[in-house]
Subunit: 305 residues, 2 copies
């Protein structure tokens, strides 16, 4: 099977109480594709500038991510984002956003990219997401979005949502999009647009899964130390979609629950280092260990007779 | 077995986007004892004023809660608290707090109360919590607290924590108390004071359980409609401690996980009506149903060979 992700490729300046990086490889498409690469063949579409060099390509390629459709914009600069986290890492402040080549991004898909089985539309302008969706034959498609598009392009976003199978957004965004106070009502309202699966990312609290008949929630893996939450949500999405693609795009309840656990396992490693640095020596065996830990820590035994 | 709770008995003025109550029976000890009454014999200690009448006693007595140690302060007024919730029910504003008889509360325990097997010290001044703890022979003791005491009486609170087995607090309070950014480190630091179990309440996200060797988390039960979150945390604590008491005060991993699920099941009903009104027709069978639902919704099947 194969998985395509379309979204941002970035350099991030990140400051947390535990250190900082001036220029960390980042962007939703990077975190997603590296995370998904542990499960399936991944292709990435996104724009970069002249400052994106061999070192950065090498990170993706070492994980087997196909970068043929990374669009190099001559004379351009790569998307840049600066943020700072408070001591309570749930609180993040964006300090700077320079869209650069991302401002005029028009995704172009090669034949290979059009023929993937699974597609993930990371957070980009909803019209562009829809154009990409329509160019692929993907049997399974998911998307993420953000408050900016909910505010400014709600109608387009809702149209795009109607073309995908899985919506994967933060809880605040889900509430904002649906204007529903409970996540259950919000998820049902999103499902009425078309998708059969809604995954609500809840930061340090984990994530919740809604389908027509099912509810499932998984906590974040308990860690002594979190160094940098950047990319946690995108690596979670990458693990989740990557696992689903590796299972032939199955979305039955048991497969979805396992995908949630795999996504959470990957994300739990991601936050142990800055940006996507943890991917450098992360192995599939380590991911499987935390998957098994999630299985053990979720059991509620029945009441003794 | 039997369970004693010491804490506030109150009238609450509550406003949510879905309605309001001018004078709802409330207070941590009330929510806790009603919730715990589904599992074991419960006694309640707390002060009330002349405005606390037969109707209010009747609510407790209908649930079999022993009210002999409710202290009626002649000429006094019952603790009064007014709050308003935003559309996002996670955001609550306190509008008014009138301590009234609660300001001079000095818990007095009857012989029957001193001899309970399980004790819960709801959120009151930490010196008073410790005095109560020392007056009982309870084999299992838990406590709650709040930011106010962490700020103003940290040392006393830490001494009191060292006398109990279970600490049950909100995540923000746990962070504030320990000055640790991750809940795992925060829980370990609390356990170093003495308690073997730390339960972190996370509002709509559920709750997490930490012991020396174990981590377990349970989401809030997914509800279409939440009417009023008031008392959710206290009813959760009541269900949790009530179940543990009913199991002879066992705190092995399987019993603790079931207790978490029972607490969450009770809390999920509590928020369906204002204050503790849902208790009026809530049955143990209904609680067991949601307990079983939690069991089903928590399973992660192993990866097919």
């Amino acid at each position: 099977m194969s998985l395509l992700v379309v979204g941002s490729i970035a350099f991030d300046a990140i400051k947390t109480p535990f250190g900082e990086r001036e220029r960390a490889l980042g962007g939703a498409a990077v975190h997603f594709s590296l995370a998904a690469s542990y499960f399936t063949d991944v292709r990435v579409v996104g724009p970069v500038g002249d400052d994106f060099g061999e070192d950065e390509y090498a990170v993706l390629r070492r994980h087997g991510v196909a970068t043929d459709d990374v669009e190099h914009v001559e004379g351009g600069k790569t998307f840049f984002w600066a943020c700072e986290y408070e001591w309570n890492l749930n609180v993040r402040h964006t300090l700077d956003t320079q869209l650069n080549v991302f401002a005029d991004f028009q995704p172009k898909l090669s034949e290979a990219s059009k023929q993937v089985e699974t597609l993930f539309l990371a957070n980009i302008q909803p019209d562009l997401q829809r154009e990409v969706r329509e160019q692929t034959q993907a049997k399974l498609a998911g998307l993420d979005s953000m408050n900016f598009w909910i505010d400014s392009e709600r109608e387009s976003l809702e149209r795009t949502i109607s073309t995908v199978d899985i919506v994967l957004m933060n809880d605040d965004e889900v509430r904002m999009l649906t204007e529903q106070p409970t996540l259950l009502k919000a998820a049902r309202q999103i499902m009425e647009l078309g998708p059969g699966v809604v995954v609500v990312k809840q930061g340090e609290y984990g994530a919740a899964l809604f389908t027509k008949d099912e509810f499932f929630a998984i906590p974040a893996y308990p860690l002594e130390t979190v160094i940098d939450p950047t990319g946690a949500g995108d690596s979670f999405a990458g693990g989740l979609l990557g696992y689903l693609d590796s299972q032939g795009g199955a979305t039955d309840a048991a497969t979805l629950r396992r995908a949630m656990a795999y996504g959470s396992a990957v994300a739990s490693y991601w936050v142990e280092e800055f940006g996507c640095e943890r991917a450098a020596d992360l192995t599939r065996e380590q991911i499987d260990e935390r998957f098994e830990a999630f299985r053990r820590m979720s059991v509620i035994e029945s009441v003794p007779a």
